[in-house]
Structure formats: C-alpha cells, structure tokens
C-alpha cells in the first residue's frame, strides 16, 4: 500500500464490524458487567473506610473491617476488579476492530475472566482475613496474584491470536498502547509477586521494588489502556484522523521508559541517587504530556470535547484533561521542595484517586457507552442515555472535588508538618472530609453504571427472545394491526 493510500482512507476491515462485534459479545460483555460489579464494590468499601476515618468508632469492633484492611480492599477492587475487567474487555474489542478480525478463542477469554474475578475475590477475602502483603497500592496476597497472572495470560493469549491473525497492516497507535499494557501487567505483577510476596527480598530492598510496582501499574498499565481508548475514540467519533503518528510514537516510548521511575517521594529512605534519578524522570515527563496533549489537541481542533453532544466524546475529553493534569503533577514532583511539602499529605492519594476516576474510569465509562450497545445484534441502545449522562456528571464532579480538596487543602497539612504546628491533625483531616463527598459521588455513579449495564443486558440478552426484541415485535404487530 502506498503512503497516500494509507494516509487518508479509513482502513478497510476484512471482517465487517458487525461480525467483529458479534464475536466479542459474550466475553466482552462478561468483562464489562464484572467491571460494573467491582466498581460498586470498590466505591462501597472505600466509602465505608473513609467513614471510619471521620467517625473512628464506627464498626470498630470487627478486625475484618478495620480501616487499613478496607483501604486495601477498596483499591484492589478498583484496580484489579474494575480497571482490570473494563480495561481488558476494551482491549479485546479494540484490538479486534483495529485488526479487522473477529476475536479469536473467546473460550479462553471467558476462562481467563473467570479466573481473574476469582483472583480478585480471593484477594479481597484474604485481605479481610489479614493477608495483605503490606505494599500500599499493590496489595495482592500470593495466591491471588498467581491466579490473576494465569487469568491475564489466558486473555492475553486470545488477544495475541487475534492480533496475529492478520499481518502486513499498519498499526494504529492505540494498538501499541494496548500491547504495552498486555505485556507490562505480567511483568509488573510478576516482579511484585516474586520479590515482595513469594520470596521476599530483605526489607531494605523491598522499598524500591514496591515503588516501581505501584508507579508502573498506574502510569503504564492504567495509563496505556486509558490513553489507547482516548487515542481511538476521539478520532473515530469526530471522523478525523489522528494528527500525527510521530507524536504518538514519541509519547508512547517516553511513557514506557519514564513510567516506572516517576513520583518517588523525596523523603524515601533510599540513597540519594535513586531519588535524583526519579526526579530527573519526572522532569522529562513533561515531554509525554506535550506529546499526548498536542497530538490530541490538533486532532480535535475546532471540535468541542467537553461540550460535545456525544457522551463518549465528553468522557474522553474529561479523561484527557485529567490525564494531563496528573502528568503535570508528576512533572512537578521533580522539584524537591514542592514534593517535600506534599509528600506525606493527602495530595498523593488524591492524585491517585483523580487519576483512577477522573482519567481511567471516565475513559472506560465513555468507551463502554459506545461499545456495549454495539455488541448486540440489531437495534440496541441504552435504556436512558440521560441516566448514563449522570455517570459522566457525577464522576466528573467527584473527580474535580477530590482534585481541589486533595491538592488545594493539602498545602495546609504540608506546612503544618514543616512548621511543627499543633494543628497538624486538623489540617490532615480537612482535605479528606471534602474528598469524602467526591467518594460518595463515585459510589452513586458506580451504582448507576451497574444499573445501566444490568438494564442493557436484561433488555437485550438472548437475541430474538430478549425482552426488547419481543416488545419491538409486539409494537410492529400492533402497528400492522392498526394499519389494517
């Protein structure tokens, strides 16, 4: 194919979109619905935990519900439960579509998804019993990570077979990000499982390993899956082409190289060289920000993203903004004084929540809004897309609240720590109290998401026998009867 031919024309798929969608239906819907369940669980447990922070005596008599365990559970449910399921479901659909081939080996995907969900359940049960490995941000007991790795391997196997089913084709940048996420996950979790849980290295050596794991899971695993979605849906829905392949490649490689280094607290008990290298990587992160931001800005020039009528585009626009803000925060961490001020405050946790919900969950919500109805055959829509809009609104408001509370109010806490102020406890709790409102909004938004998914499935499952199909038949029969 000549350069001009591949330049402007959309790729002509070998298989029709309907065929690809149909092949993805079972596995991907299973993954999406699991994700919805986990989202509710994650936010619910997170709410309970946060409540205990503000009302310490609430349900304090049960060791299984102690704050430390609930925090770990909430993050496991979000990261592996929601993000894992939604991300992998979207990965499979996008790879199939971009390759123009139906999803291969769906049985493997279902087996993998089942194993994956079992693993996350095992992790949550284990943490409730006290088995958490002590790594904030990773928190998988040994038995859980083993099962997750096997489950992911099954799903990745299907993705790889789909991927290799057609060659000689120019790859769209989203594919690179998705491949990176598929390859990165076993490496990251494998490292953590092996070096921190299964045969732990000595305590002093665990600190850098733990940091690399947590930062890579966020920046590379979540980041790549979310950016793949943004890079796919914005051009696709606006009908334009992505501005530049070169910029995308530049951003991709920089993200992969830098993602594991960044965001090390300057007060970490590591030698000075580790901290300086991390700050160097954080400083260079500005280039990833420029690459992704500029590319998408030029792609969507003239098209309002947040003000669009298309909900997916709104979600992707917000997700992009959130990613850029977190990237800016990462960049800011190169400056020791600023990082030193905020390192033990709520700011870090708030940015993690903002990244998780404002960027990743928002991208997933937008993607599911687009993808899920198309997986069904025939005319399918969301029961009330007006309801689905509330997912966007609540998540957006919640994310902004957490960002402002976490970043804005943590300065007080940081200064109190530096000055030895007696008010340090009060200042520590202020941002968390406001952020609690954001967490309530996330919970509500997850509930609506679950409800929407359930509604969609219920109304449109079982093909011709689905309730919607029957209703349509009735209406058609009525119309015919009326015409007679």
């Amino acid at each position: 194919m000549s350069e001009e031919e591949t330049h402007n024309a959309p790729l002509a798929p070998e298989a029709k979109p309907e065929e690809i969608n149909a092949s993805c239906r079972g596995p991907v819907l299973f993954l999406f619905f699991s994700a919805a369940l986990w989202a509710v669980q994650a936010t619910g447990v997170g709410l309970l935990g946060s409540l205990k922070m503000h009302v310490p005596g609430f349900l304090a008599d049960f060791s299984h519900l102690t704050y430390g365990r609930l925090q770990a559970n909430a993050w496991v449910a979000f990261l592996y439960g929601f993000a894992g399921n939604a991300g992998m479901g979207l990965t499979l659909w996008m790879l199939s579509r971009l390759r123009g081939m139906p999803l291969a080996k769906p049985g493997f995907v279902l087996a993998g998804a089942f194993l994956w969900n079992s693993g996350v359940t095992a992790a949550m049960v284990g943490i409730t019993m006290g088995d958490q490995p002590g790594v904030a941000g990773y928190e998988l007991p040994a038995y859980a990570s083993r099962v997750l790795l096997i489950g992911q391997a099954f799903i990745a196997f299907s993705a790889i077979i789909t991927y290799f089913s057609r060659r000689h084709q120019q790859l769209y940048p989203s594919s690179w990000f998705l491949i990176a996420a598929l390859v990165a996950f076993p490496w990251i979790v494998g490292t953590a499982h092996w070096l921190l849980v299964e045969t732990p290295v000595r305590g002093a050596a665990q600190i850098p390993v733990a940091h690399w794991t947590v930062t890579s899971l966020q920046q590379i695993w979540l980041g790549c899956m979310g950016l793949a979605a943004i890079l796919y849906f914005i051009p696709k829905i606006t009908g334009r082409e992505l501005y530049s392949r070169q910029w995308a490649a530049f951003g991709f490689w920089m993200l992969l190289i830098l993602g594991g280094w960044v965001n090390l607290n300057s007060g970490s008990p590591l030698p000075v060289w580790s901290i300086k290298l991390s700050q160097y990587a954080s400083a260079l992160f500005i280039f990833v920000l420029i690459a992704i931001g500029w590319n998408l800005r030029q792609t969507a020039k003239g098209v309002p993203l947040l003000g669009s009528s298309d909900l997916t585009l709104q979600c992707m626009g917000f997700a992009l903004g959130a990613w850029l803000i977190t990237a800016l925060f990462t960049f800011g961490n190169f400056y020791s004084d600023w990082n030193g001020l905020l390192q033990f405050t709520y700011a870090g946790t708030a940015m993690r929540q903002f990244f998780a919900w404002g960027f990743f969950a928002m991208a997933m919500f937008g993607a599911v809004y687009y993808v899920a109805p198309r997986l069904f055959s025939g005319e399918v829509d969301w029961a009330c897309s007006g309801t689905y809009k509330w997912i966007f609104r609540l998540t957006a408001i919640g994310a902004v609240v957490i960002l402002l509370a976490g970043l804005g109010m943590s300065y007080g806490h940081g200064h109190a720590l530096q000055d030895g102020s007696a008010e340090v406890m009060k200042k520590a709790l202020m941002p968390m109290r406001i952020a609690f409102l954001g967490e309530i909004l996330f919970f509500l938004s997850s509930l609506i998401f679950l409800g929407s998914m359930a509604c969609l499935l219920f109304r449109n499952c079982c093909g011709e026998c689905s309730p919607m199909a029957l209703i349509r038949k009735c209406r058609a029969a009525e119309a015919e009867g009326g015409a007679e």
């Binding site: 330049h7 959309p10 790729l11 995308a248 590591l270 000075v272 829509d381």
Partner: protein
C-alpha cells in the same frame, strides 16, 4: 423520550487512521538539551551512586568526613572486647586489691605492647609485682582464640584509657605471636618464662 441510536453501525466512522504530521525537530533538540542538562545535574547530585549517601547529605566525601577515624573505631571495638576482661579487672580497670592487678598506670601495660599481648594470648600465673604491689593470681588465656586485630583493639583501649599510651597495631601482636612460637613455650606464663622468652617484665 428515549434517544434512539438506530442503525448504530451505519453511523459509525471507519477505524481511525493516524496522520503523518511531522514532529518538529525543535522538540527533539529541546529534549536532548534538557536531557543533557538533567544528566549533568544528576551527575552533580547523585553522589556517584553511593549506597551510603542519603539525603540531606550530598556526597560520599561528606559522609566519610563524619565517619569515626580509624583510631576511634579501634578504640570502640576494644571497648567492646574489654567486656570479656571487666569481670576480673573491673570496668574502670582498677582490679581487686590483693587479688587482681589493676590495669591503670600499670608498668606491665605501658611500654612494649608485646608483653601485654603475650599475656593475653597465653595467660599468666604466679607471683608478680604491679606498681610495687605483689599479686599471686591466675589469668586464663582469654585471648587464645582472638585475632591479632581484636587483641590490638583491646590493648589499645586499655592503654589509651588508663595509661596514656598510643595505639597498638595488629603487627605488634603478630610479632608477639612469632616470639612465642620461637621461644617454644606452651601454656600459661609465669614471670620467669616471660623473661626467658624475651618479653622483658617490669620489677
């Protein structure tokens, strides 16, 4: 009214394509420049990847400057080893009048350290006079299993704490060992055998 997206698939655009807009060369120039400056800064601040330099220290030289000197380390180690001696010779080196000779201002400790090294290695018994006071006890060969460095350390501690003498080196202890071997003496010393082996005992 429900929004119907009927004929969803037809409304869909094709799969997105990536355009070929070139990245400006200037961005690579800026990256290289900043990358270089960053490397330079890191080089300046990273303390040569030393494992023992933690913030707020900036260099291995700085950390090393605070490290105790060789002499202080030997003294400290000797103090640790002296714990084996203080049962008899007391923590302040005073000994027990009439039974255990003192180590403070002792003519047996001052002077040639090889004498003290030989006593630590093989023990001492029989009548001796320390600073004019007679003693007739028995000291076991506490240092029989100790290394040259350990004996040197404890002797340094004793000499520097209570005798105003400078430190004892491991070489001097090794010399003492050689002298013992050459003399062919085995077992605990007494005054006469020490003199015979070449270690001049004070009166």
């Amino acid at each position: 009214m429900e929004e119907k997206h009927s004929n969803l698939n037809l409304k869909e655009h094709g799969e997105p394509a990536a355009g070929n807009s070139q990245m400006p060369v200037s961005i690579m120039v800026v990256l290289t420049l900043l990358g270089y400056i960053g490397c330079y800064k890191v080089d300046e601040l990273n303390a040569n990847f030393a494992a023992n330099v933690h913030a707020p220290f900036g260099s291995p030289a700085e950390v090393a400057s605070l490290a105790p000197s060789e002499a202080e380390l030997i003294f400290g180690k000797g103090k640790q080893i002296y714990a084996n001696c203080q049962g008899c010779h007391q923590p302040n080196g005073g000994g027990t009048p009439g039974q255990i000779p003192p180590l403070v201002n002792s003519s047996w400790v001052k002077g040639d350290p090889k004498l003290a090294a030989a006593i630590v290695l093989n023990g001492l018994q029989g009548p001796i006079a320390v600073n004019g006071t007679p003693y007739n006890g028995a000291m076991t060969a506490v240092g029989a299993a100790w290394s040259d460095e350990e004996i040197a350390a404890v002797l340094t501690y004793i000499r520097q704490s209570w005798n105003g003498e400078e430190l004892v080196t491991a070489e001097q202890v090794a010399e003492a060992r050689t002298m013992i071997k050459d003399s062919g003496h085995l077992g605990t010393w007494n005054k006469a055998s020490l003199d015979a082996a070449g270690f001049a005992t004070p009166e």
